[in-house]
C-alpha cells in the first residue's frame, strides 16, 4: 500500500472579488521510502501542493475538494489535534529559506527540544540528548554548543542542516522539502542535497522534493511530477522524464538547461510566461506557449493518459511522436 495517496486535490484561493483555482484536481501516489520530485516554473502550484499535504495552507487558500490519504487516513478531514500530531511527527517539512525559517529569538536547543516535547513524553534532558544525536547525524560540529546558540550566529548552510535535523527528530515517514537549497550558495547546495539523499535512504524516509532544478531531481528522486498552472501535466520515472520527455512543456524545460546548449549560444528558453491564476487560458493551459498547439488544444483540457512509460496530459503527444519517428526514418 502506498504511504501517501492524493486524489483529485483541488485548492482554491478566495480573493476579494473572485475565487481562483490554484490546484486543479491533482492525483499522485508515493510508496513508503520513495523519493518523488515535483518540478515546474514558479507559480505552477508546487509549494501549494507541499503545504496542502500537511493541511497547512494559510488564508485565503483552502482545500476545496479531494483526498490526501496518508497511511490510510485523510489529512483533509483531520481535526486540529490530529493535524498537530501529524505535523513534525509523522510528516516533516523543510522550508525554502533557512535564514527566515528559524525563530530569531529562540535558541537552536529550544526549537529542537520543543518539537520533541510536543510529540513525545520526554524530559527536557532526554530531548536534549536526542537533539544532539540528530545534530551529529547532519554533521554539525560540537552540537552541545550549537544548542545554546541563536540562529543569527550560524551560517545559512548550517541552519539548513539544523532544519534537516529537526525534520528527522521524530523519525517521520515523509519529509516534504520545498526548494531546500534555493536560498543557499551553489557549493553548499550540493552538500545539502547529498546529505538529504543519504539520510532519506538510510532511514527509509519518503521524500517529496519540490524544486525547479531538473538536475537535482535527476540525482535525488525516483519519480517525478511536472506541474503547470495547477495541474500535473506529466509524471513517471525520473529517468524516463529526463531522457525522453513527452509533454512539450517538459521538453522545453529540459532544452532550457545550460547543458543542452553549446557555449556562446543563447539558452533555449520557453517563450512566454506561466499564466497567473486569474488568467489561465481555456483548454490546455500551456497552449499559448506551445508551438504544436491546435484549435482543439485551445478548447479542451487534455486528460492524463498513459503514453509509453509515462503519464502525460497532451492532445498532441501521439502526433508529435509519429512526426518524430517519420523524421528519424527519413534521416
Amino acid at each position: 500500500m502506498s504511504l501517501l495517496s492524493v486524489r483529485d486535490l483541488t485548492v482554491k484561493f478566495a480573493m476579494r472579488d473572485q475565487t481562483v483555482t490554484a490546484l486543479n484536481g491533482i492525483s499522485f501516489d508515493l510508496a513508503k521510502g520513495e523519493r518523488l520530485g515535483i518540478v515546474g516554473e514558479s507559480g505552477a502550484g508546487k509549494s501549494i501542493t507541499g503545504f496542502s499535504l500537511m493541511n497547512l495552507l494559510s488564508r485565503p487558500g483552502y482545500i476545496d475538494s479531494g483526498k490526501i490519504l496518508f497511511d490510510g487516513e485523510d489529512v483533509v478531514q483531520m481535526n486540529n489535534k490530529k493535524l498537530r500530531n501529524l505535523r513534525g511527527n509523522r510528516m516533516a517539512m523543510i522550508f525554502q529559506d533557512p535564514m527566515v525559517t528559524l525563530n530569531p529569538v529562540l535558541t537552536i536547543g529550544q526549537q529542537m527540544i520543543e518539537t520533541l516535547m510536543a510529540h513525545r513524553k520526554l524530559s527536557r534532558e532526554e530531548a536534549r540528548q536526542i537533539a544532539i544525536v540528530k545534530l551529529r547525524e547532519v554533521y554539525i560540529p560540537s552540537p552541545e554548543e550549537r544548542l545554546e546558540q541563536y540562529p543569527h550566529e550560524l551560517s545559512g548552510g548550517m541552519r539548513q542542516r539544523i532544519i534537516i535535523a529537526i525534520a528527522l527528530l521524530l523519525d517521520p515517514q515523509l519529509i516534504i522539502a520545498d526548494e531546500p537549497t534555493t536560498a543557499l550558495d551553489v557549493t553548499i547546495q550540493a552538500d545539502i542535497m547529498e546529505l538529504m539523499l543519504e539520510l532519506c535512504q538510510s532511514n527509509q524516509v519518503g521524500l517529496i522534493l519540490i524544486t525547479h532544478d531538473l538536475g537535482v531531481v535527476s540525482q535525488m528522486t525516483e519519480r517525478t511530477l511536472v506541474m503547470y498552472a495547477g495541474r500535473i501535466i506529466e509524471s513517471g520515472r525520473t529517468r524516463e522524464i529526463i531522457n525522453d520527455p513527452q509533454h512539450p512543456y517538459t521538453q522545453g524545460l529540459i532544452n532550457a538547461l545550460p547543458q543542452q546548449t553549446l557555449p556562446g549560444q543563447r539558452l533555449k528558453q520557453i517563450p512566454g510566461n506561466m499564466p497567473g491564476l486569474v488568467s489561465i487560458p481555456a483548454g490546455c493551459a500551456f497552449n499559448p506557449r506551445c508551438k504544436y498547439a491546435t484549435d482543439f488544444c485551445r478548447s479542451r483540457v487534455p486528460e492524463t493518459e498513459h503514453y509509453g512509460k509515462v503519464e502525460v496530459a497532451c492532445h498532441e503527444v501521439q502526433r508529435l511522436n509519429s512526426d518524430e519517428d517519420r523524421q528519424e526514418a527519413q534521416a
Binding site: 529562540l106 535558541t107 518539537t115
Partner: protein
C-alpha cells in the same frame, strides 16, 4: 558591555547638555526676575545694583557656565515662591508623580498585551472590533476630557471614587509618601491612573496588534505550525517575544512622554505631583522652578531611554551588549 555603557552615558550627557541649554535660554525670556523678588518701591539704582550682584548683567555664556556648574552640584536655583532650593521642591513632588506614572504603567502593561494579542489572533471577532473601536475613541479624546468625564461619572454621579487629591498616604522613605499602602490611597489613584493611561493604552493595544499580526504571517510561525507545536506556545513564545521587541523601544519613549501628560492629569485631579506644581510655577513665573522642572523631566526621559535600550539588548539575542564596542 563597558564600551556600550560608556557610549550610552556619553550620549545621555550630550542630550542633557542640550536640554540644560534650552532650559536656561528660556529663563532669560520669562520676564524680569527682579520684579518677582523685590517690590515696586525699590528704585532703579538699587535694582541695577542687585542685577550686578546676582550676575544678571554678565554675558549669556558666563551665566550659563555658572548655572551649569551649580546644577552639577545639585543646585538648580531657589524657587521664588517657596523660598527653598528648586530641586528640593521638585523632589518632594516627585514621588506622587512617579506613583501616578507607575499606576498608569501597570494598567497599560497589564491590559495591552492580552488585548493586543487577542485582537491579533482573532481579528474578525466581534470583541476585537469593539476593542479596536474603543481604542480609536481612547486615542482621540484628550486626557483632560477623559479625566473630567470620569470625575463626572464616577465621582459626581455615582460617588464611587474620590475626585481629587492623593487621600491617605504613608511615609516610606525620605520624601516618599505612598498611595499603595492604604485602601484610601488605592481609591484615590484609580481615576488619575486610568486617565493617564487612556491615551497610551489604546496606542499600545494597536501597536502590539499590528506587530503581532505581522509576526503571525512570518515564515518561522508557519514553520512552528509545521512542527506541530501547540498554538498557545506559538502565540506566546514564538510570536509574542518577537512582537515585544519593537514595542519595548516605542514603550520607552512613551513612558517619558507620559511624564509630560501628568501635567494635564494632575491638574484635573489636583494631584500634588510635579506636573501640577509645574503649572502653578508657570502661573507664578517662578522661573528657577520651571527651569529645574524641565531639567529633571529631561533627566528622567534620558534615564528611561537608556534603561530601555539596555533591556532591549537583553531581550533581543541579535543585539549582543556584552560584545558591543564602539
Amino acid at each position: 558591555m563597558f564600551a556600550y555603557l560608556a557610549k550610552r552615558v556619553i550620549q545621555a550627557v550630550a542630550v542633557m547638555f542640550v536640554i540644560s541649554l534650552i532650559a536656561f535660554a528660556i529663563q532669560g525670556n520669562l520676564g524680569d526676575p527682579l520684579r518677582e523678588l523685590v517690590g515696586q518701591s525699590v528704585s532703579e539704582e538699587v535694582r541695577q545694583q542687585l542685577r550686578d550682584e546676582m550676575g544678571l548683567n554678565d554675558s549669556f555664556v558666563t551665566q550659563y557656565l555658572r548655572f551649569a556648574g551649580n546644577a552639577l552640584q545639585g543646585d538648580l536655583g531657589t524657587s521664588y515662591f517657596f523660598k527653598e532650593p528648586a530641586l528640593d521642591v521638585i523632589l518632594k513632588k516627585l514621588p506622587a508623580t512617579l506613583e501616578l506614572v507607575f499606576g498608569a504603567t501597570l494598567i497599560i502593561v497589564g491590559l495591552s498585551v492580552p488585548l493586543g494579542v487577542y485582537t491579533a489572533i482573532k481579528p474578525d471577532s466581534i470583541l476585537s472590533r469593539i476593542i479596536m473601536g474603543l481604542s480609536i475613541v481612547g486615542i482621540s479624546i484628550p486626557v483632560f476630557l477623559t479625566a473630567i468625564l470620569m470625575i463626572f461619572v464616577f465621582s459626581v454621579e455615582y460617588g464611587w471614587l474620590p475626585s481629587y487629591g492623593r487621600g491617605e498616604t504613608v511615609q516610606v522613605w525620605g520624601y516618599w509618601q505612598t498611595n499603595f499602602a492604604t485602601a484610601d490611597g488605592w481609591l484615590h489613584i484609580i481615576l488619575p491612573s486610568i486617565a493617564l493611561a487612556s491615551i497610551m493604552l489604546p496606542l499600545f493595544v494597536r501597536l502590539i496588534r499590528a506587530e503581532m499580526m505581522e509576526v503571525l504571517q512570518s515564515e518561522y510561525v508557519k514553520y512552528a505550525k509545521a512542527k506541530g507545536i501547540n498554538p498557545w506556545r506559538i502565540y506566546f513564545v514564538h510570536a509574542l517575544k518577537n512582537t515585544l521587541l519593537p514595542v519595548i523601544t516605542v514603550g520607552g519613549v512613551q513612558i517619558g512622554t507620559m511624564v509630560a501628560y501628568t501635567i494635564l492629569t494632575e491638574t484635573v485631579f489636583q494631584w500634588p505631583g510635579m506636573g501640577f506644581m509645574f503649572l502653578e510655577a508657570v502661573n507664578r513665573v517662578d522661573t528657577p522652578l520651571i527651569v529645574a522642572y524641565l531639567i529633571v523631566v529631561g533627566f528622567i526621559f534620558v534615564v528611561t531611554n537608556t534603561i530601555v535600550d539596555l533591556i532591549y539588548g537583553l531581550v533581543n539575542p541579535t543585539v549582543n551588549i556584552a560584545r558591543m564596542g564602539a
